[in-house]
């Protein structure tokens, strides 16, 4: 009824291979983009941007990055927080070192630097597998955070050990610093998220993505049929870290403005991003968005419900939040291991046939 492919003919291979081959899907996607780019910036206020939209967009990038590594290539990483810190500090050093260069270039370069660091920490993955690797990535997490804490060159010898984003503009509109308008903050994050999602989606559909999935499903078998594990694993680490680095840079420069590394990029960040992709769906770009949305909205929702409506103390609500997140993880792993993305897929299948059962 709502979701039909009847009458939707592809006349070229190009049409057949596009990201959204079904017309309804494609128009829905354009509609979402139109709302996100043309409507939302004009109606958002400070609260919405700071509490929900910007964290959602930034976490989505991080989740896409981790999903490439864990969901597509099967290498579990608990070092996301550390790699986000690399992105943030690289961005800070670039911003303060080359003040005349545009911030967008800085953020992309920060992603590149993170990709290099990620590749370095990805090297052991050639020997180590499964949760041995997960634990090995903890080394990255703790070592990187420690390094940014102790080596004062990284925070320009400031007394507090914090890094503060100086004011930078894009097309004359400030996007970092104290004078940022909510819509500008939203727009820059949206542009990056959109670009990252498109790139990630197309990478995972191509040769590279297929070699990642082959490695994920069975690395020895993949090697036998001619997938180079060195190339597949290291590109997964590099590209994943690139996205994670961009999200870390945005998180610092655009969203928070001032960062103390141990607090912001600690082990908890790694877990949250991992949870996002578990709940959202491993191996799905849409799932990264869904998981990020759920885990960003959930604490806000619980706080509204618990603290503002029922008047409970904040610490109890925070504990309930832990319980709910834990329960969600377990429920999803037990009931729907492929996450929200799979629910979405099932819903689409049903809609295609509705109102008939088969």
């Amino acid at each position: 009824m709502f979701y039909r492919e009847a009458g939707d003919f592809s006349t070229t291979y190009r049409q057949d291979n596009q990201t959204f081959p079904i017309k309804f899907d494609r128009y829905r996607y354009y509609a979402v983009l139109a709302v996100a780019f043309l409507v939302v910036p004009f109606i958002v206020n400070d609260y919405w941007v700071n509490a929900i939209l910007v964290p959602f967009l930034i976490y989505s990038i991080a989740a896409i990055g981790l999903n490439i590594l864990t969901g597509y290539c099967g290498q579990v990483s608990l070092g996301t927080g550390g790699f986000m810190a690399v992105g943030a500090y690289a961005c800070y050093k670039l911003m303060t070192g080359f003040p005349d260069v545009n911030i967008i270039i800085h953020i992309i370069l920060a992603g590149g630097i993170t990709a290099a660091v990620g590749t370095l920490f990805g090297l052991p993955s050639l020997r180590i597998k499964g949760f041995y690797l997960a634990v090995a990535t903890l080394a990255a997490q703790f070592f990187l955070v420690w390094m940014f804490n102790k080596v004062s060159w990284f925070y320009n010898y400031s007394a507090s050990g914090q890094i503060n984003a100086p004011e930078r503009t894009v097309f004359g509109v400030p996007v970092t610093g104290a004078q940022v308008e909510p819509w500008a903050m939203y727009m820059i994050c949206l542009v990056f998220t959109f670009a990252c999602a498109v790139i990630a989606r197309n990478l995972t559909r191509g040769t590279l993505g297929r070699s990642w999935m082959a490695i994920r499903d069975m690395d020895i078998a993949a090697e036998i049929i001619g997938v180079n594990p060195l190339k597949a694993k290291l590109t997964a680490f590099a590209i994943s870290s690139f996205f994670v680095g961009i999200s870390g840079a945005l998180f610092f420069a655009v969203y928070l403005g001032a960062v103390e590394v141990g607090e912001v990029y600690g082990i908890q960040k790694s877990f949250i991003v991992l949870f996002m992709i578990i709940i959202g769906g491993l191996g799905s770009i849409f799932g990264s968005f869904a998981g990020a949305a759920l885990l960003v909205v959930l604490p806000v929702f619980l706080k509204l419900l618990g603290v503002d409506l029922l008047g409970w103390p904040t610490d109890i609500v925070a504990h309930i939040n832990l319980v709910v997140v834990g329960l969600l993880i377990i429920l999803f792993l037990v009931l729907e291991p492929h996450g929200l993305a799979q629910l979405w897929r099932v819903a689409k299948e049903k809609l295609r046939l509705w109102p008939f059962p088969h």
Binding site: F131, V135, D315
Partner: protein, 334 residues
């Protein structure tokens, strides 16, 4: 003897003691991993949960009192009793067994046959869940933990004067060794002895080993997997309680206790996930290694190297020997 060498000796001794504490946590991991192939990330949170439950029961705290007060507007906090430590330990063991049953019944029974990495992530979820429940039940503030047999004899704390004196007479420099660490070492030795005796000489222990060896073979000779898994989680819960009490007595019962679990991971990687002696040897290596590194190189590069040294050591080690020191050789087939 030169002073530096004496310092290094003292640091080594303290490192050995710290290693024992890590090994205590690592033991629980190994038990569960051997019997069910689950890499239990929640072991550290189980230690926290056990320690908080112990303190709560001992002080007669009302479970979920904060939540109840928030919902009903009441003001209840304590039952108003002080339980004897041994009674509190027994009651906590009961709670841990109940938890083991619940974990098995509601989570891992539904995940049988899933990939190991899915099970691992489920235990991360379990860690969050348990932590939230522990905080809701007993409150998140830092608590003091005392274990006393009678009013006078409690867990000893502070510097061991005998060792201080002997070493002073021998070398002219008194070693600082915490009494609590010595107790922890003794407790750990007893615990390992009990575990070994249990798994070698009792019917249940043998069944546990059978399951660890081969699930299906054990099932076919009539071992109930469900029962064994509950048993294993209970034993791991008991080990967590011991670790929780020791760590709690050392640094207070607080959230950071659950982070020691993370420290136990490199220990496991060194020792191998499937070996109890490996867990102990790995713990000792990590304990001594990180203390000596901090002592020798730490001051040069800014200190606090204990945060990452263990992981980096394990990482470098793994590159050369992926199955750990005592682990079984990993054989993979298509």
């Amino acid at each position: 003897m030169p002073e530096q060498l004496l310092f290094a000796m003292e640091v080594t001794l303290n490192g050995l003691m710290a290693g024992v504490m890590y090994a205590l946590v690592a033991l629980g991991f190994v038990l569960i991993f051997k019997a069910s192939g689950i890499f239990n990330f929640a072991q550290g949170v189980m230690a926290l949960f056990a320690a908080m439950t112990f303190v709560g029961i001992q002080n007669g705290q009302v479970p979920f009192s904060h939540l109840i007060n928030a919902i009903f507007g009441t003001k209840i906090h304590y039952f108003g009793w002080e339980l004897h430590s041994m009674v509190a330990i027994l009651l906590t063991v009961v709670v841990m067994i109940a938890m083991a049953w619940a974990v098995q019944r509601f989570i891992f029974r539904h995940l049988v046959g899933q990939e190991p990495i899915i099970l691992f992530m489920a235990t991360i979820g379990l860690a969050y869940l348990l932590e939230g429940i522990a905080d809701l039940m007993w409150g998140a503030e830092i608590k003091k933990l005392d274990v006393c047999l009678t009013d006078q004899t409690c867990l000893p704390q502070g510097i061991n004067l005998a060792i201080d004196e002997t070493t002073f007479n021998l070398f002219g420099y008194g070693f600082f060794i915490d009494n609590l660490d010595i107790t922890a070492t003794i407790v750990a030795i007893i615990l390992v002895a009990i575990l070994v005796a249990f798994s070698q000489y009792t019917k249940q222990g043998r069944a546990m080993r059978a399951v660890a060896d081969d699930h299906q073979a054990a099932l076919s000779v009539g071992v109930s997997l469900n029962y064994i898994w509950i048993l294993v989680w209970s034993v791991a819960g008991f080990v967590a309680l011991v670790a929780g009490i020791m760590w709690g007595a050392k640094s207070g019962v607080q959230f950071s206790l659950s982070l020691i679990a993370l420290k136990a991971l490199p220990v496991l990687m060194l020792g191998g996930f499937t070996s109890i002696p490996g867990a102990i040897v790995g713990g000792l290596i990590i304990g001594v290694g990180e203390k000596l590194f901090e002592f020798a190189i730490g001051p040069m590069i800014g200190g606090a190297t204990e945060n990452w040294f263990a992981y980096v050591l394990a990482l470098i080690f793994l590159v050369f020997r992926p199955q750990g020191l005592f682990g079984e050789k990993i054989i993979e087939r298509v």
